[in-house]
């Protein structure tokens, strides 16, 4: 399974990972529309943290022993055979148990509807996740575990 590794010392805080993650998760898949006509409904699954000159980006760690999965009231949060934690929006009721138990704080309500949780899906439909692909300084890299 692939894992995204974040390297704080290389991160410049440019937020391109956030921009491309939001675009990937947008309706239009168009960077300008994502931030203009679809603004306010951004769905970046990556969290860029900034404090003074230090920055880094964090998204779902796909924990081996994932609290969001066993705490989910509906079974919407699940783990694939390959260990990727995914989320079935159809089943989700927005009880926020996952937000409560996620030790990394990387699940958030879907701003489009505010009733469904949203998180990183490792861009399974792409070879390289959008955040990694667009990081200009290799602060986000992929490793195969």
């Amino acid at each position: 399974m692939k894992k995204i590794v974040a390297k704080e010392e290389y991160c410049m805080g440019c937020r391109l990972c956030e921009v491309y993650c939001a675009t990937k998760n947008s309706k239009s898949k168009d960077i300008i529309k994502t931030f203009k006509s679809e603004a306010g409904k951004l769905l970046s699954a990556i969290f860029v943290e900034e404090k003074e000159h230090i920055t880094f980006a964090i998204q779902c760690r796909h924990c081996e022993d994932a609290p969001c999965v066993y705490s989910c009231l509906t079974g919407a949060m699940y783990k694939t055979d390959k260990g990727v934690v995914l989320h079935n929006k159809e089943k989700c009721v927005g009880c926020w148990m996952c937000i409560m138990v996620c030790p990394f704080g990387v699940i958030k309500p879907d701003l489009n509807i505010k009733k469904i949780a949203s998180k990183c899906d490792l861009c399974l439909d792409k070879e390289v996740p959008a955040c990694v692909e667009n990081c200009p300084n290799e602060a986000l890299v992929i490793i195969n575990k």
Partner: protein, 425 residues
């Protein structure tokens, strides 16, 4: 190896997954009072009309076959012979076990109220799907637009969530001064009280029902401690749940409020384990025995119990109370000890405005309680601070930051925490 599990909800499901991860051959028998497996906390969403009955399963549809189970649905375990290792069901059926797991959950507490009769139409508890179904029918049949909820704790508020979706005006009565008394302080409660008032509902604090009036077996009104009378056709009794330990009464199993277990989820009897809302176990924060009747705790306990039923060496490190509740658009998450006083040695940090409240409780430089109202994003990190017992003395003043996250944590700890999950810092 024969495994028997009495009760079939989240603790049982997680125990089954654990057992099967170590033992693919053993026979697993499950005894369930219910007709089918469903997620009980979802009944408030069902009541609200947000989900349908067939959407309440929380495992894959073929779970019973996938995990090779024999499930006795709609059957009740009557008694257990711990010496002969037998479980008796109603109808003279008996099953023998090598390892037994008791996950019988909780049952609603019905306080002793003058005039109360179980047959009075219009009085409901709210813990099972049947409760929600009957309630929904009753609301529709009687065109209910006003109701009384006795108890402002988690179950009362969940019932409130469901009833408010039908635009029913509520009067929520609690013996304490606040809503969600187990994990909220008065201030947090006020944010929800304000919303209830705007909706035309009301929270009545420091009060209780002393008498119930009915006519022709139908609920008419209730009288409060202060003699105030409220006419109502619907009363939800939601003062709490207690461990369902009936099956082990007068046996050699050790119980207090719930079934007592050690850190392996083992009862005082060999080969007999327990998990979920029925157990009383160590509170992670206070280290005192308590019943923490919440879904994530039941899941973890079930997992630990299941592993130990096969190979006893996995420890349960305790849980603390936590809730996630959303009422009338106000979201909230709370953890641990929150309603404590400075004079008792707690440090209290607060940040708030008209629709946002954040409170952090610290004891001996460790976070022991948190309330978030209005903005719950990244809330889980606070829970992690409690669980990992992080010394926060060096970054205490940053805990209330709006952009609270990992960057406020000391680099060493950040490294330690996230490295194993492949985040290099």
């Amino acid at each position: 190896m024969n495994y028997i599990i009495i009760g079939y909800s989240v603790a049982a499901v997680n125990a089954i997954k654990s057992i099967r991860s170590l033992d693919s051959k053993g026979k697993i028998y499950v005894i369930s009072e219910e007709e089918k497996l469903y997620s009980r906390p979802l009944i408030s969403y069902y009541l609200a009309g947000k989900i349908k009955e067939d959407e309440m399963n929380f495992v894959e549809g073929n779970f019973d076959t996938k995990y090779n189970l024999k499930v006795y649905y709609s059957e009740v375990a009557k008694s257990i012979d711990f010496d002969k290792k037998l479980v008796y069901l109603y109808g003279n059926k008996k099953l023998s076990y090598d390892k037994l797991l008791i996950t019988t959950g909780g049952v609603p507490v019905i306080p002793d109220i003058k005039g109360y009769k179980s047959y009075i139409e219009g009085i409901f508890t709210f813990t099972k799907l049947d409760d929600a179904k009957n309630l929904l029918n009753y609301i529709k049949r009687n065109k209910i637009n006003q109701a009384v909820i006795l108890g402002g704790g988690l179950i009362g508020m969940k019932a409130a969530e469901g009833l408010l979706a039908h635009n029913i005006k509520l009067k929520i009565i609690d013996i304490t001064d606040r809503l969600l008394a187990n994990t909220f302080d008065k201030e947090a409660s006020c944010y929800i009280e304000k919303k209830l008032n705007q909706h035309g509902s009301e929270f009545i604090s420091n009060n209780t029902i002393v008498e119930i009036f009915s006519k022709n077996k139908k609920l008419e009104s209730v009288k409060l401690k202060d003699n105030k009378k409220i006419n109502t056709k619907l009363l939800i009794i939601a003062v709490g749940v207690k461990p369902n330990i009936e099956i082990v009464y007068n046996t050699k199993m050790k119980t207090n409020k719930g079934i007592l277990v050690d850190e392996f989820m083992n009862t005082n009897l060999d080969d007999v384990f327990s998990a979920g809302d029925v157990v009383e176990t160590k509170n992670f924060i206070t280290q005192e025995n308590s019943v923490i009747a919440i879904w994530p705790a039941a899941a973890v306990q079930g997992r630990v119990a299941g592993l130990n039923m096969v190979d006893k060496k996995f420890k349960y490190d305790g849980m603390f109370g936590m809730n996630s509740v959303e009422i009338l658009g106000v979201s909230s998450i709370s953890f641990g000890l929150t309603n404590v006083q400075q004079k008792d040695g707690f440090e209290i940090l607060v940040k708030k405005d008209s629709d946002y409240y954040k409170k952090i409780v610290i004891k001996d430089n460790k976070v022991v309680g948190v309330i978030l109202v209005g903005n719950i994003e990244r809330g889980g990190i606070y829970g992690m601070l409690i669980k990992q017992k992080i010394d926060v003395s060096s970054f205490k003043n940053e805990l209330l930051r709006d952009d609270f996250g990992f960057l406020i944590l000391p680099k060493d700890f950040r490294k330690h925490l996230v490295l194993k999950e492949y985040l290099e810092v």
